[in-house]
């Protein structure tokens, strides 16, 4: 258990800089999710913390120590990889015990710790199996177990759930979060799935093109996105963006309104035509198109009346829910 500090961390591969300076102070026991689209540098950032990638400039501190030049094993971290990276020829027990064996932990303690982790992860009956004899979810648990037994100061996860089916993913994300709470270990978790980010994070780092667009608690980020990118990336369905032109206002900025804040009302002064409606059961998403072709999604109660396809509707929202972004995408 420890704090983790990134201080203006940058990374270049050859001449191309892929991480343009990220800073964050992570409190002890905090669960931080790094979220962003593919190729934005999430894995690279995580791997720099792990020590699998060198830091081009800036500092990484774990528990108050600068670890830039330390090997992964000396950093007191444990990592869970996307493809689990279990050693195929070793049993589940040996997979979990390997790190401890290298650290020359006494045999009795290894057994105790592995059994404790196995109990926590419901793997007791599988300890003698080889990874190929396990299901995807069980392999995922073994990978978690391997991280737990080392009792690290920081857990690092790189998209650990992306190989699981949707249902298992929901279950595992609850388990991981509960486990992290229980163990009180600081965690850094990479995902491209904004739902995972919203549900698991104490705070999240929304990354875009090698920069941290916003760092904050999920609901705060949701309610107050710092940039147009964040507003579009966090939240599903994504925020509607409208140009000021179509709103009949002056200036070169864009307006963002979340689908649940958008209302269909005949009094609305922005006219649009219904394209189609998606009934999801509890709610219905009505997709409409404005005169200039902009698509807008409206989130409706399932009970409300849904307009016919092709029908003309008016759009309306509370001015307080409006988010304004300047031409560079910043909030203004």
């Amino acid at each position: 258990m420890a704090t983790l500090i990134l201080n203006n961390v940058k990374k270049s591969f050859g001449m191309t800089e892929v991480i343009h300076g990220i800073s964050i102070n992570v409190a002890d026991g905090e669960f931080i999710v790094i979220v962003g689209p593919s190729g934005c540098g999430k894995s690279t950032l995580l791997r720099m913390v792990a020590g699998l990638e060198t830091v081009t400039s800036g500092d990484v501190q774990i528990g108050g120590r600068r670890v830039n030049d330390q090997e992964p094993m000396d950093r007191d971290i444990a990592m869970v990889f996307q493809n689990y990276a279990l050693y195929p020829h070793m049993s589940v027990f040996d997979n979990m015990a390997y790190g401890l064996k290298i650290a020359r932990t006494p045999r009795a303690e290894i057994e105790e710790r592995v059994e404790q982790a196995a109990r926590l992860l419901q793997l007791e009956t599988y300890l003698q199996r080889k990874p190929r004899e396990l299901s995807g979810g069980q392999r995922q648990r073994v990978a978690m177990g391997r991280a737990i037994v080392r009792k690290p100061a920081v857990f690092l996860f790189d998209e650990p759930l992306s190989n699981l089916d949707a249902k298992l993913r929901v279950q595992m994300r609850l388990e991981i979060k509960a486990l992290q709470r229980e163990l009180g270990v600081t965690a850094l978790y990479v995902t491209h799935d904004q739902v995972e980010a919203m549900t698991m994070a104490d705070r999240m780092i929304v990354m875009n093109g090698g920069m941290a667009d916003q760092i904050g608690a999920p609901l705060e980020v949701y309610a107050n996105p710092a940039t147009e990118f964040v507003a579009g990336f966090i939240g599903s369905p994504p925020t509607n963006f409208l140009s000021t032109e179509i709103m009949g206002r002056s200036g070169d900025s864009r307006i963002g309104v979340r689908p649940e804040h958008t209302r269909l009302s005949d009094s609305g002064n922005l006219k649009a035509r219904t394209v189609y409606a998606e009934a999801l059961g509890a709610e219905t998403l009505v997709h409409v198109r404005c005169a200039d072709g902009t698509q807008v999604t409206v989130r409706q109660d399932a009970a409300s009346t849904i307009p016919q396809e092709g029908a003309e509707v008016g759009l309306d929202w509370d001015p307080a829910d409006e988010m304004k972004f300047d031409s560079s995408g910043r909030r203004c």
Binding site: G51, E71, Q82, A85, Y87, P88, H89, Y98
Partner: protein, 284 residues
């Protein structure tokens, strides 16, 4: 399980024809070996006087005992032993060296990495025969003529095996090496604990091929072993043929030939189980 899916089932006449074809083929290949066996169990006169017998005689023990203990130039048991040491030495040496060089080429970034890889690759095109004169010179200067080192060392580097292991290592996911690194394994620890056990199927298959390669070496042992005590079996057979008007001791020569076949056959049969099992249960 996997075998059944992959096999096309044949029935009726097709099945019998296939079998007939295979049986004829086997008989064709096996006949000379049978003749050699027959020749190794009869007396010298039976062979020289036509027609050659087709059924084994009663001299089996006498001939084989003679071959093993005295032979023609050197006892066959000595030659078998020499061949065994050479073949095992070459096979194990080649495997050890190529595993390590492939490990270096795949997992380490050092100056001239590509250069070394291509140099190794180039030597694929230089079989022993091409470099035999300079190699002889080197070995002679080191005083290694008539020694096991002399038999083994010049043949111990293997571009083929290095290349094979390189290809295999490149299919091992990078994450595995990284996981080991996070677990605290230094490079050699990773090599011995993870890479080596994962390569055991390849090693077994390669051992068979390299053992036979080493066992069948002819030209090199012929050049550097002048002492009959150091002769290997494959060259030994050739040297049993008389040069001039001497009479060839055919029963002993044939017994020697058959004895020379035994160790490679044992290695193939023994290792077969290991690598077939490895091929069936995939390592994923």
């Amino acid at each position: 399980m996997a075998e059944r899916n992959g096999m096309v089932e044949r029935r009726g006449a097709g099945l019998w024809l296939t079998h007939l074809g295979l049986i004829v083929g086997i008989a064709f290949i096996f006949f000379p070996i049978w003749l050699a066996f027959v020749a190794s169990t009869v007396e010298q006169q039976d062979i020289v006087r036509p027609p050659m017998p087709l059924l084994p005689g009663d001299q089996f023990f006498a001939n084989y005992a003679r071959a093993l203990t005295s032979g023609v130039n050197a006892p066959v048991s000595t030659m078998l032993w020499n061949s065994l040491i050479m073949a095992v030495g070459i096979a194990l040496g080649k495997i050890a060296i190529s595993l390590l060089s492939a490990f270096a080429i795949v997992y380490f970034r050092f100056p001239g990495r590509r250069l070394f890889f291509w140099l190794i690759f180039l030597t694929l095109m230089l079989p022993v025969e091409v470099r035999i004169v300079p190699t002889y010179e080197v070995i002679a200067n080191f005083g290694m003529l008539n020694s096991y080192q002399g038999l083994i060392l010049p043949l111990i580097a293997s571009a083929t095996a290095t290349f094979l292991f390189r290809q295999f290592f490149m299919t091992v996911p990078d994450e595995l090496a990284e996981a080991a690194r996070v677990d605290g394994a230094r490079p050699m620890r990773f090599f011995f604990d993870i890479l080596l056990p994962m390569s055991r199927t390849n090693i077994a298959a390669l051992f068979v091929i390299l053992f036979i390669y080493g066992w069948n070496q002819y030209l090199w042992p012929l050049l550097i072993t002048t002492d009959p005590e150091m002769n290997t079996i494959v060259m030994g057979i050739k040297q049993m043929f008389p040069s001039g008007d001497d009479i060839a001791d055919w029963p002993v020569i044939m017994a020697t030939s058959l004895l020379a076949m035994v160790p490679p056959v044992l290695v193939v049969v023994g290792m077969q189980r290991l690598f077939i099992r490895g091929l069936v249960e995939s390592e994923k």
